[in-house]
Symmetry: C2
């Protein structure tokens, strides 16, 4: 019965999230029942969507319950098994949450998935070959559905979703333009991730200025956009959308702290006959096998080299998460536990 440290949501943020919203608890893993396995987490995934669930607001997911372990994706190893389906040593991904171990009922659909780490490092199953990668795939393929030669834009371009989006877009013969925060991220976007251009939104004080930069980076206009941020970025992109453009709305991180985040000119949806669609990738499990196969190939062949920001040890999770919300991460944010 190993000791298991875990982060609970202690109280909900008022405005910006802070470290005091979380509480570290120590417990011991329980004895397993039949059909259960014990997973030792090697990596915890930190994702922007978690901030939304810290609020007690109507949203697509139930709010994160107070006093419970923070929910989230994990990648790890079976260390004890009372199921014939899993052997000790198997590498698995699941939703173990912010803790060092989790007990999983293997018969629960989707609770655990065995992964092959021969060509793809374990951590990537939480990023490019996991939920963030499939998110990018769904937005690009199912909502934006661009034709070769068209121009697509993604905000938070060097993040886990954005970098997968860029690789998928380039593999499809599209012009891919990123929006990211700071010169280092923009350099990485164009030099390593393969984006055709990247705009540093920090150089622009308003949507009009960012819109001008988009015009230069997208001389033929924008046919598809993948939105992770909202606010000024979305306003600027809207002003450059071509007729019949498609916008996949995946996140609006700019509004997670409760700021007003109005869309300045919704008239553009009409005048340009745009389609804007919000989606949650976990509601489209039917596409995961196809998407993961393509993402695994891109990573296995080196066409997608996802960058990771890795913080060390369970204690580091809240600070790493708060940094992620401020854009301090560079690529997929993980916590390494082993």
């Amino acid at each position: 019965m190993p000791q298991n440290r875990q982060w609970l949501l202690d109280n909900r943020p008022t405005g910006e999230a802070t470290a005091s919203n979380f509480k570290l608890a120590t417990t011991y893993t329980p004895a397993l029942a039949d059909g259960q396995v014990l997973v030792r987490h090697h990596y915890m995934s930190l994702d922007p969507y978690m901030r939304g669930r810290m609020n007690d607001a109507k949203s697509y997911a139930q709010p994160q319950p107070l006093g419970q372990v923070m929910q989230g994706g994990t990648a790890g190893e079976i260390v004890e098994s009372r199921s014939p389906r899993y052997a000790v040593g198997d590498k698995v991904v699941g939703m173990g949450g912010w803790q060092e171990y989790s007990v999983v009922n293997v018969e629960q659909p989707g609770a655990l998935r065995k992964v092959d780490t021969t060509h793809v490092p374990l951590s990537h199953y939480l990023g490019a070959v996991g939920m963030p990668g499939v998110t990018a795939w769904y937005g690009l393929v199912k909502i934006i559905d661009a034709q070769p030669g068209q121009t697509v834009v993604v905000s938070a371009a060097t993040g886990a979703v954005g970098s997968a989006f860029g690789a998928l877009a380039k593999a499809r013969g599209l012009r891919a333009v990123g929006i990211a925060g700071g010169p280092d991220k923009c350099k990485y976007a164009t030099e390593t991730l393969g984006f055709d251009a990247c705009i540093d939104y920090r150089e622009h004080k308003d949507a009009a200025s960012l819109s001008k930069a988009l015009k230069a980076a997208c001389p033929d206009g924008i046919d598809g956009h993948f939105e992770n941020v909202g606010g000024m970025v979305l306003d600027a992109v809207l002003s450059r959308m071509n007729a019949f453009g498609r916008i996949a709305l995946c996140g609006m991180i700019a509004g997670y702290d409760g700021q007003p985040l109005p869309m300045a000119y919704p008239q553009l949806i009409l005048t340009q006959r745009l389609k804007i669609q919000g989606f949650i990738v976990s509601e489209h499990m039917e596409v995961w096998p196809e998407a993961l196969k393509e993402l695994g190939m891109l990573v296995g062949t080196g066409k997608l080299r996802p960058r990771e920001s890795v913080s060390q040890g369970i204690e580091s999770a809240p600070e790493a998460f708060l940094g992620l919300l401020k854009g301090k991460n560079f690529g997929k944010q993980l916590v390494k536990l082993v």
Copy 2:
């Protein structure tokens, strides 16, 4: 060579449109060339979209040129023909503009359409069995695509588009809720047009108040919405949309004079996984035959009894049009010339 009075766009509005933007001119119809017909207009159609085209702004259509006859739909009768396809006395609809006569090259695709006035009055071909009706049909069938029992909402519910939308929705087994301005229009919406409920937006000073009224009128939430107005109405509807709801964006009349018209909480598109799509019915000519057939049946069988506001004489067009923009019309706004 009959005398032909016509309204030209003399200058563009700054803010609200006024009668001084238009100029009445008198000319004579020219002699016909082979393949041309002369149409005497019985009715001119006045539609909200015309206001948008008076601005010199990037939009789906070219701006209305200055010094030219105001463009718009017309229904009339062939009075002279140099084409074997049309005989004197044929009833036709076309885009003759704000004038008493037009000369039409009949070989130009879509320029003129012969109509049968046995069961459907000529004027309805500019409304319920014309462009506004097909507009309602496209939004309901191709974008909202609701299942029987679902709830749909339409703003400007007693207008040409809204009334057709209500009849089409009821014929499909949907709960149809209208939004209109004033108790008379709301009474007409429920008692004559068949809406299940109608909300008078003038009773609500802000989106929060209108949202409460929508909650009462839509106890199961809103699955589909057809937007003609924008602003407060769209904000209120967004707050009541069910997961996976669809919004057809057809008009934003509240912003035609250049007012800012921000969408307050675009986050709802994400959290409710909505689809918002703008469209222009003239870009979807392939659906017109199917839509017109259904609309003609609804009118012919009395299931859709469209109301008309008819102003008399070519001189009355600008005032009738400005009244339409303020919601003074009640049903389809026409100008009767004969």
